[in-house]
């Protein structure tokens, strides 16, 4: 199965970016002398970064976010400036869990966390139904794989 995270993620990110920009602007407004060179420079810079994030970076980041779960592996792709693909092999999955936070309750989304020994992948902002299907798909049906470095006869697995 393959899918994208909920579009609500983009709204959350853009709101967060807007809030962060407002906070930065307020700090600059109050801390630096009004009308000074740095006051103008930092305010313009904050505005520019906000516009860049809101109209280019975050939408492209959202477009690049994707999860794939097939018989071999589960992969989570994200990022724009640095594009990252994180992959856990199905045989290494020890368990998967679904996380609900007050915000996700409001947005009707869930985070699915896939755990292996020493690593994990968290896929946030999944629509509830998709999250449940993914969780059912990823939860191992059998006990965790025993190390195959020795086969049944005791010889090296080759």
């Amino acid at each position: 199965m393959e899918g994208k995270i909920s579009r609500k993620a983009l709204i959350v990110w853009e709101t967060a970016a807007f809030a962060a920009a407002c906070l930065a602007a307020a700090i600059i407004w109050f801390l630096l002398p009004d009308g000074s060179f740095f006051w103008y420079l930092l305010l313009w810079l904050t505005g520019f970064v906000l516009v860049f994030c809101e109209f280019l970076y975050l939408p492209l980041r959202y477009e690049n976010t994707l999860y794939i779960a097939n018989g071999e592996y589960v992969e989570y792709q994200r990022g724009f400036l640095i594009f990252t693909r994180t992959r856990i092999l199905r045989r290494a999955v020890l368990y998967a869990s679904m996380v609900r936070t007050p915000l996700s309750l409001l947005l009707r989304t869930r985070t699915v966390v896939i755990c292996s020994m020493g690593a994990r992948i968290a896929i946030p902002f999944l629509p509830v139904k998709d999250a449940e299907v993914l969780l059912a798909n990823l939860t191992p049906r059998e006990p965790a794989l025993q190390p195959r470095i020795f086969d049944q006869k005791g010889k090296c697995h080759e």
Partner: protein, 481 residues
Amino acid sequence: MNEIQRQHPLFVVHAFSKYLILLIFPLLRSFVLLQGNVLAWVQGTWFDILVLLGIIGAGVAQWWCIRYTLYPEGVLAFSGVLIQEKRYIPYRNFSSIVMEEPFYLLPFRAARLRLETDSGSTRHADLTLLLRRRQAEQFLNCGAGRFAAEPCRAEGKRSYHPRALYIAILSLITSNTITGVLFAATFLSQSGKVLGEQFERMLLNSFTRLVQFLAFKIPPAAALAAAVLLGGWALAFLITLVSNLRFRAERKGRLLTVKSGIVTRKEYYLAVERINYVRFRQSLVTRIFGFYSAFLNCTGYGKERNELAVLLPAVGDEELKRSLRLLLPEYRISRRKYRPWIRTVSRFLIPPLTVMLGIALLFAALYLLFPRFRETTLFFALMAMVPAVWWFFVKIAAYFHVGISIKEDIYTFRYTFGYAFFTAVLHKDKIARVEVRQSLFQKMSRCADVVVHPFSEKRAHFRLHNIQIDEVEAFLRILGR
């Protein structure tokens, strides 16, 4: 078997030894100062004596509550006084069992046993017991003995004894200045607590006099920095040397046994199937001379402070293959298959060149701004440039080192971190996560960083820089099979 057993009675004082030492020395000092006048001593220190008795009482209660029973397939352990915990651990789930015999436990014929599984705390062992030597051996027979009896590719008993020179090389590679400095600082502060401030002051004065004596024609600040760095490093070298002397590794069945140490004898019993990966480490110097040090990642081995998870302290190219075939024939290093291509060589060299330029500009500014400290500035500029130039050479060598290779199910990852060159060998089932990271610049030069997260109790990763993107795809395809 099947009977309830308790720890060595020494546990009563051993469990709270840190606090007891802090209390006993001031009590004894006051007793000596009062020239044996017991009544006056009790009147003056009655509260301290009560605390001391309370600590011993808590030790007795804990000793009574911690007990275990050995069953044919596992151990049932009880622990805790107020909050009692009962757990059954099958022997098959043990990753390692560690037996420690510090010199001060030898007269009591006692040994500390640390039992580890892949689960539990990442800082402490799952079960730690202070046992009589006889009890510890019984435990080892049950827990580790079954791994030794199981058949595997490594037939018979195979052992490896390195020369003392190789232990010295290992100490040379792994000694860390910070460890030595921290050890010295802890020693100074603890000696101040136990033996009084006068002793601590005397130690510090002696150190200052030594630095003044050695600082000949060198700025005092530079001499002090050099002394701290060199002294810390020398101390760390000694600690590593002493804890790894008399190193011996043995393989029998599916059990790997490692014994080392003089002051504290340590015996590690490792289940081979629980070894997550074998990692070889080289510095630029050892790479030039063709030496490797091999380390293991197995839960419980190298977990304690100042402990190294050594498999082979130092070996040459040929001996490495021979020794690895002897101890762990399941792991085989293969030739580099996927590697960075020539167009990405600049991506390796840009970081050290940037650092070198940054240092040059910074110290040039300091040289011009503070004319009174020009001599010191020049000295520090030189000292700062040395590691940057060294890093540049490391990065050149890194281009020829980094890569991935696959031989059946055994994967070899070659990568660098800081000044060190690493080669990690692991079974494909021990790969927990793979991450492919590609920045916009890497996209232009058609390469990507591959971050491999192996199975490990603590989070660990190998980061391979600038591998060709087509080869990364090929690697991912093979891994998925």
